[in-house]
């Protein structure tokens, strides 16, 4: 098996935030923790694009490089995970991550930063697989059940793909070849007219008085 990766197809993402909801539900993350979020560029303008972002499980992860307690590890499948018992909540990984993936719960009345929390690719953490401890600290472990991350599996438009990098890139390649690009995309001309110009408004019917 190659490496597990996420791939978000910005042509398909409709900013429904279903992935965000699915993630929160599966992992029961506390208030304020967003392991996954949807980022929209050019919001409200024709041709706006949205992408669902979480930990990208980097092959050369900067969070791993900067961690002073070496609490990160990479599984054989390429999933970057961490041991919360080892984490001191320093926040270095947050500054190092280009995707803003590490999240820190605000604990106590004075907003003390808690231990880091991030997307686990629904692979749990270094506790007994499927145990209550694992679920409490890291959330669900779907990978051990032979399933893929819930965010991708329940994506309504299948914009978010997760799994073996070779397989999902092949799915995306086939999709991109079939649908074409730019004005060839289904629905583009109906919505925006040729070459991105607004479609002419339908002729108004005269109202009989």
């Amino acid at each position: 098996m190659a490496r597990m990766k996420f791939l978000c197809d910005s042509e398909r993402c409709i900013e429904c935030n279903g992935c965000v909801t699915a993630c929160k539900n599966e992992n029961e993350t506390p208030w304020g923790i967003q392991r996954r979020r949807v980022v929209t560029l050019g919001d409200g303008l024709p041709g706006e694009k949205s992408v669902s972002v979480a930990c990208m499980h980097c092959s050369d992860a900067p969070c791993m490089a900067v961690c002073p307690t070496d609490c990160f590890y990479r599984t054989d499948e390429g999933v970057v995970l961490h041991d919360k018992d080892q984490c001191i909540g320093c926040g270095y990984c947050f500054y190092a991550c280009p995707f803003g993936a590490p999240q820190f719960p605000q604990e106590g009345n004075f907003g003390i930063r808690g231990k880091m929390d991030k997307c686990t690719f629904c692979a749990g953490g270094p506790e007994k697989d499927g145990s209550a401890d694992e679920h409490q600290k890291y959330g669900g472990n779907r990978l051990a059940e032979g399933k893929l991350p819930l965010c991708a599996e329940m994506c309504s438009t299948k914009a978010l793909l997760a799994g073996d990098a070779d397989v999902i890139s092949e799915i995306f390649r086939e999709r991109a070849l079939t649908r074409g690009k730019g004005g060839e995309l289904w629905g583009w001309q109906q919505a925006y007219g040729k070459d991105g110009a607004p479609a002419p408004a339908p002729a108004k019917k005269e109202v009989q008085k």
Binding site: M64, T69, T75, G124, P126, L148, L161
Partner: protein
């Protein structure tokens, strides 16, 4: 003497150009079990096969046609 000083200075300056080896430290947390151990009885091939099937459910060109 001047030669020696020049050599020492250039050696000192060149030392700044060197790149220290930077390696990620060894993981110091608890060990994690393999994902195919708990529910697949250690059968990696069976687990991979399940994931491959699951992967293809994301491909609607195969699912629909």
């Amino acid at each position: 003497m001047r030669m020696l000083t020049a050599m020492l200075i250039s050696a000192g300056l060149l030392a700044g150009c060197g790149e220290a080896v930077q390696t990620v430290g060894d993981y110091r947390g608890k060990t994690d079990a393999k994902p195919y151990e708990a529910n697949y009885g250690g059968d990696k091939a069976k687990w991979e096969s399940a994931l491959r099937t699951r992967n293809q459910t994301q491909n609607e060109y195969k699912r629909v046609h």
